[in-house]
Every structure is written in C-alpha cells, then in structure tokens.
Assembly symmetry: C2
C-alpha cells in the first residue's frame, strides 16, 4: 500500500500524489503493470478524499504513466518508450534547406519593408483592445471569405481611397495572394489558359506550374499588355497589374484598359485578374480608376495585399470577385476555413476603421517619395548621370535605370555582387530571351539606407566606366 507524506506547502494534495507516483514510476519503484491501490483504500490509508485520488489518477492517466482497466482498477504503464529519449538529444538529418540569399551590405533588389516604419505601438494597443473586448467573437469560426467587420472596413477604404463601390460580401480574405491564386484556380478551373505579362512576375509561372496549368505570356508595348498578345497566345485569363506593372513600372492608360475589357467580353469564361499590389504608393496625379471599377460585365477579379502597405509578415491579402463568381465561390468552396487568424483580422479592421491605415499609407508614401527623390537627385548630380537614364513615373517602390554600357547584364551584376551590392536586371524578368532589353536595372528603394546610395552608384559608375 502506498503511503506518502504530504506537506503544507500550498501545492494541492492531488498534485503531490501525482508527483510522488510519477516519480516512483520513473525511478522504477512502481513496476509496469503493477496494480495501484483502489481509490477508496488509498484515500482511507492516507486520510484524504477519493476525489483527490481521482484527480491525481486522472492526471497520471492523461500523461500515460498509468492506465485503467474498466471495473478492475489502475495499473502502472510501461513507460520505456516514453522517457527513453534524453532531453538533450537533438536530431540532425540530411536536410538541404534553401540557402538564405547572401546578405549584401547594399541590396537594391530587396522588396522589404523598413521595420522602423511599422506602427508597432498602435498595433499592439489595438491587438490588446481586440483581445480584451472580443473574446467571444475571437473564438467563432468566420465564413470562408473572412470576418465581416474586416471586409466592411476594406470596402469602406476602397470607396474613399480608390473610388471603388464594393459589397463586403464580394471580398475574400486570405493568407497572402499566393494562397488566393490557388483558390482562384480551383474556382476558375485548371483547363483554362492563364496569361501573364512578359516581362513579369516569375513567381506566377511557378504557382501556375504547381497546379499543372497551361500558363503562357504575352508581350507588352509601352501601354502594357496588348489584345493582340492575348489573342496570339489563346488566353482565357489575363493576369495583369495595370496600375503599376512590375518591373517596368508601366501604368496602363484608360483606353488600353477598355480594350482589354472588350477582349474579355468577347467570350464566356474569359476573365481579367487585376493585381493592384502597390497602388497605395502611386503618387503621380489622379489615379486611373481600377479595371474593377469600370467593369460592367463581371469580368474583373481584383486582388490586393497588405504586404506592401503594412508588412509581408502579417499574411493578409484579399480578392474581390464579381457577383456570379462570389456565388460560385460560396457554392463550391465554402467548406474551406478562412486562412487568416481572427485576432489579426479584427485588429486590422480596427486599424482601418480608426483611420490609422490611411495615416500609415500617407506616411509610407511620403517616405518613399523622399527615398526616390534623394536617389534620383544623387544620380543626376553624380558622374553616373551621363551614362544612366532614369525611367520612372513617380510611383511605387522601384524605378528603372538604363546604363550606357557594353557589359552584359550578368557581368554587371557579377561585378556589383563582388563589391557587396545586389541588383536585378529587367532582362531577368523576361520569360523569353529578350536580348534587346539588356542594360535596364531595377532600383528598389523600399528599404535602402540612403547613406549607402553614394557608394552604390559610385560603384556602378566605376564598373561601366572604368
């Protein structure tokens, strides 16, 4: 019969019993399959209640130290397998993780958000307020499209900021645009031909590739993708970024937008995916209305993200579906759970509704304007000016330079890398060989230390004009 001495340390008796028995099992005093005393006799023997013993036994059962045979009693489990692994042991298998891209002291390619710009204190406060005032809602599973409050906030924001009239139920919130592309493919089907811009965002080719989709590309002229290009490749779905194309920076004029819409209207099942990824940072003149706003025939699927306007490490993006597609979405895909945490959905809704998002965008926009101006001013006043054209439209987080050099893009990049500078060439974004587009380079200024600009461009000058 087990007899233990209980102290008055304030640790509940059941926990003391639990610890005694656990320790006896681990040390081998109690042997596997040995029967433990019945609750009643244990209780009588130690002068405590059976409920206390019950609690201790429950805990031991739940952790696998003892087991129970109904109507017979409790027995010591065989714990060999459980504790044979020493705590310190670590496993190291032959796993080849992707190399973290070499950290260059100066990175003109990175599309990062400056951590100093994130509104940490407001965000923390809103998170705390959300948690303390909404414990009930935080535990309720929202519809697939996300929490209504956030969808309403986004709809209000788009109305005042982009002049877009959206029903909150058209909005589908998801953990990143990549995830939403996957949902879209499931919605539109993988038998369609998806067409992307050339040059363009190579990740799209990879994503469509993983879904075994026929992904093609269409050439661009100075106004963006062309209808002839779409026809030539037999596209069903045109995946474009008319506000600010990456990497060329082209803004599609209204006339071309109507042409592309007309193309989509020629046949059932044609759609336009309008990726408006950095429209918040457009600064030149009056924004051109989104294609979603001028689409009268339910042909445009609008996508946007908080990755650029807030941070890519909170994964929140959204898409706006035309009415017939949102109905199809809820018919076919409503079994999916929304992929964004309730905690962050409610916090973001409060962030938008209280005006912080607009303030934050304005602050970021001015920061980017200043970054861009300082870099362009530097180039214009430096030795490089005679060998470097600047192609920009006062928008977004990057611009292009054209270098007057005989060196291949690969060679320029190689030599700059040696100097600790990372840069990308426009030619790297072509899905085809396109040799006449050499010598254009992308200057991504979203998180560049402005003090390093002279060093960067002095090195570019020395490489092309040694």
């Amino acid at each position: 019969m087990l007899t233990y001495i209980f102290d008055k340390s304030g640790i509940p008796i059941y926990e003391q019993i639990y610890k005694y028995i656990k320790s006896d099992i681990i040390s081998g005093i109690l042997k596997p399959d040995e029967k433990l005393p019945s609750k009643r006799s244990f209780a009588n023997n130690n002068g405590i209640s059976t409920i206390t013993i019950q609690n201790a036994y429950d805990q031991l059962v739940s952790e696998g130290y003892i087991y129970t045979i109904p109507k017979k009693g409790y027995y010591v489990a065989n714990i060999d397998g459980m504790i044979s692994i020493p705590k310190e042991s670590t496993l190291s298998l032959d796993i080849k993780m992707p190399k973290v891209s070499d950290k260059y002291p100066i990175d003109l390619s990175g599309n990062k958000v400056n951590p100093d710009m994130f509104p940490f204190s407001v965000w923390t406060r809103l998170l705390r307020e959300t948690i303390s005032s909404r414990s009930q809602e935080l535990m309720e599973v929202p519809p697939t499209g996300g929490i209504l409050e956030l969808r309403r906030a986004i709809s209000d924001h788009l109305k005042s900021f982009r002049g877009m009239l959206i029903d909150p139920n058209q909005i589908i919130i998801g953990a990143g645009t990549e995830y939403l592309y996957g949902l879209l493919i499931q919605l539109l089907g993988n038998q369609k031909i998806y067409c992307i811009e050339n040059p363009g965002y190579k990740k799209l080719v990879q994503i469509y590739g993983r879904y075994n989709i026929h992904c093609t590309y269409a050439e661009m002229d100075d106004n963006g993708i062309t209808v002839e290009g779409l026809r030539k490749c037999g596209a069903d779905i045109a995946h474009i970024s008319p506000t600010h194309h990456f990497p060329t920076g082209i803004t599609m004029p209204a006339s071309r937008r109507y042409e592309i819409l007309a193309w989509a209207n020629e046949e059932n099942g044609r759609y336009i995916i309008e990726d408006d990824y950095d429209s918040e940072f457009r600064t030149n003149g009056r924004p051109i209305p989104t294609m979603q706003s001028i689409d009268a025939c339910e042909k445009v699927i609008y996508m946007n993200t908080f990755s650029k306007s807030l941070t890519p490490t909170i994964r929140i993006s959204y898409m706006i579906l035309p009415v017939h597609l949102v109905n199809r979405f809820y018919e076919q895909l409503s079994f999916y759970s929304c992929t964004v945490s309730n905690f962050e959905q409610y916090t973001l809704a409060a962030f938008i509704n209280n005006g912080y998002f607009e303030k934050h965008i304005n602050r970021m926009r001015l920061y980017y304007i200043r970054q861009r101006k300082q870099i362009i001013n530097y180039i214009e006043e430096s030795n490089l000016n005679d060998y470097c054209g600047i192609i920009e439209n006062e928008s977004g987080l990057h611009f292009l330079i054209k270098l007057d050099t005989e060196l291949s893009d690969t060679e320029v990049i190689k030599r700059l890398n040696k100097k600790g500078i990372q840069i990308r060439a426009l030619s790297q974004y072509f899905l085809t060989d396109n040799i006449e587009k050499e010598h254009y380079f992308i200057i991504n200024y979203s998180n560049i230390d402005i003090n390093k600009i002279p060093e960067a461009f002095e090195n570019i000058y020395l490489i092309i004009h040694p």
Copy 2:
C-alpha cells in the same frame, strides 16, 4: 495668386495649406487643369519656406488632387470621378452567402472550443512581449516552412509529449491543415490515388475533389482501415487518423500500424498521411507511438493542428515530412511564403517554450474528461440507459451512442432539430450507403453546456420511446 491665412493652432503650416487647397479644389474654386503657383512664388507671397509648400503639394499629389508636369509645375486634377461617390452610399448585390447553420440551443454536433478556456491573458502578454522585443524579426520573411523558433518549439514538444524525434527542418507550418493538404498534393502529385477512411472526414473528399484528384475510400474493421481495403481500391496514399478515428473513435493497434507500413513499403510512391488531430486529448493508458515514430522507411507524413489544442480561429497547423520529401519540398515549393503571421508564430513559440502549452493541454484534457464523465453518468442513470449503448475509449472530444430504435437516422435528427437539438449520425459520415450502420449518433462534448444535458437526453429518450 493664392493667399491664405494661417492660424497658430498647432496644426503644421503645410497641413493648413494642404487643407485650404484641397477644400478649394473640392468646392470648385480651383478648376481642373488650372496651374498652381510655383513653390517659390507661393512661398514668397505667404512668407513661408518653399519646403513647406513642397510638403503640402506632395501630399496633394499623393492624394490625386493635383498633378505635376516635370519642369512646368503643378496643376489641379480633375477629381470628378474621385469624389462622385457619396460617403453614405452602400452597395448591396445579389450575393447568396452560405446560410449560417441554424443555431440550435443545444448543439451535440459542434466541434467548438469553449471560449472561456482560451488563455487570453497569457496570450496577450506573450504577444505584447513578442512585439516589444522582436520588432526586427517580426518584419523578416521566414522560410516557407515557418519560423525556426516555432519549429524548434514544436519539435521539443513532440519529443517530450509524444516521444517523437523530429528535426525542426522537417516541420512545415501552415495556415490550417486544409492549406497543408493543398501543399501536399502539389508535392506528391495529382496523379496518385488518395484513399480515405470510410466512414470518415467528408471535407477531405471535397478538398481532393477541388484538385481533380482520384479520391477513393476503404472500409474499416474494428482496428481501423485494412490493407485489403487499400489494395482493393488501388490506393497510393492512405490518409488516416490512427490515434483516434473520426467519427468512430477507433484507435489503430500497433500490429495494424505495422501492416499498413508494410503495405506502404511494397511500392515506391506509396505514402501514409497520419492525421493526429486530437491526440493531445487521448487519456486511456499509454499512448501508442505515432506511425511517424515507427516509420523507418520515410513513408509517413505526420499532420497536426493547434485548432483543437488551442483554437481553430488562430490558423496554425503543421506537417512533418520524411527527409526526402522535405528536400523535394524546398526544391520545388520554396517560392511560396509561409501562410502564418510572424506575430503569431513567435507568440506560439513562446507559449510552448514557457510551458504554457503543456499546462493548457492538461487543463483542457481534464475539462474534457469531466464533460465526458458527467454526460456518461447522466445517461447511465437516466431512463435512456436501457435504450442506449455507449461506445467510447476515454479519448478525444466525442463519443458514440447507439440508440435502440426503429426510427431512421434522418427521422431522429429531424425530430430532435424540432426540439432545438442538433446532432449528427455516424451514417452521415459514410461515403457509401451503409444502412446497417444506422442508429449510431455522435456526442460532441467539447463545448456543451453541461446544464443542458438532461434536457438533451430526455428529449432523445422521448423520441425513441414515446
């Protein structure tokens, strides 16, 4: 020439200029395409610096009220389109959102977490600490598999809690198991035959369906899915939950686990997806080792989620890939971003590392044990006892009852619904007609108000024994 009067209210002068001009544009005093004064003359005229004017103009440009022609100056934009939408207007389109399942006062089908059990105060504190101490890391994009610190915490937890030896790099974190299934399909290919248990989790059929996958099912015996079943349907991938099958509650014994592993080893390209969704709440005796632990041939993909152990509304799940698959994963899919927010990944890592997760699980487990016991005690002491068998193995968040009745399952459910009680039958989880499995019902007790139990079971009694 514009002349404005500036007050000393503390509002910066540039903001006052910005507001004056904006208001003049909106009211029509300044007309579209009208040229604004140059910064210099405006500054001289008002006795302020050109920098101040520059800031005001920048702001107006960024909001689209004015535009600039390089080397010419600033002009009033045509804002017709921008502000034509009255703020109050709301759009309401003909969108059919899925009906929220009628809220029954008593829901024996719901698999919800009791909101009172979520550790809000600890979570808030850890979130706040994370944000204040990790601003840099919070802004850095993690590898596709998730933040190393969380993967390490999960690996440590699995070692002490489940006796599993896992390299943190084998772990892939994602926004829910549904999302991870999608990644798995992309990794294993959609040409394989995926086999699920019958009865089983119908959502799997829907997910595989959306990926156009050949999804089949295999019958179970008392020990779970059988090798003959897998052979009969020509399966390549067996998707199973050996720890605690839903909805039957069957735990697959070790011998059957080895048989299934042997089946997987017969051919290249065969895999087992081991879904361990509620293993934390297993309480009967020593836990059987996971299939992942006894797999020596890289055949088992282990999946688990924090949906049951924490809350489904923070979307965090993970899978553990065998070494050759994790290498393939990073070769082929590392272009994807991790779908879980950095903020919640770091918070969860701290939650696990500081011992809160283990405490929380223990607390939840005891809560579920108590819920289950109270319900079973009630049934055993009620009129229903003679007409109701209880099938349970002291595990998970649900058990089965078998009712002694001639009524069809549909009829029982219909009559209970009328009384305000929601319940699901085992027969609803069969992927085939399986009439001999009628009269079994699922009692999900994860968030049942225990005071409503007498009403619920009294009604069941009255329906089968009027």
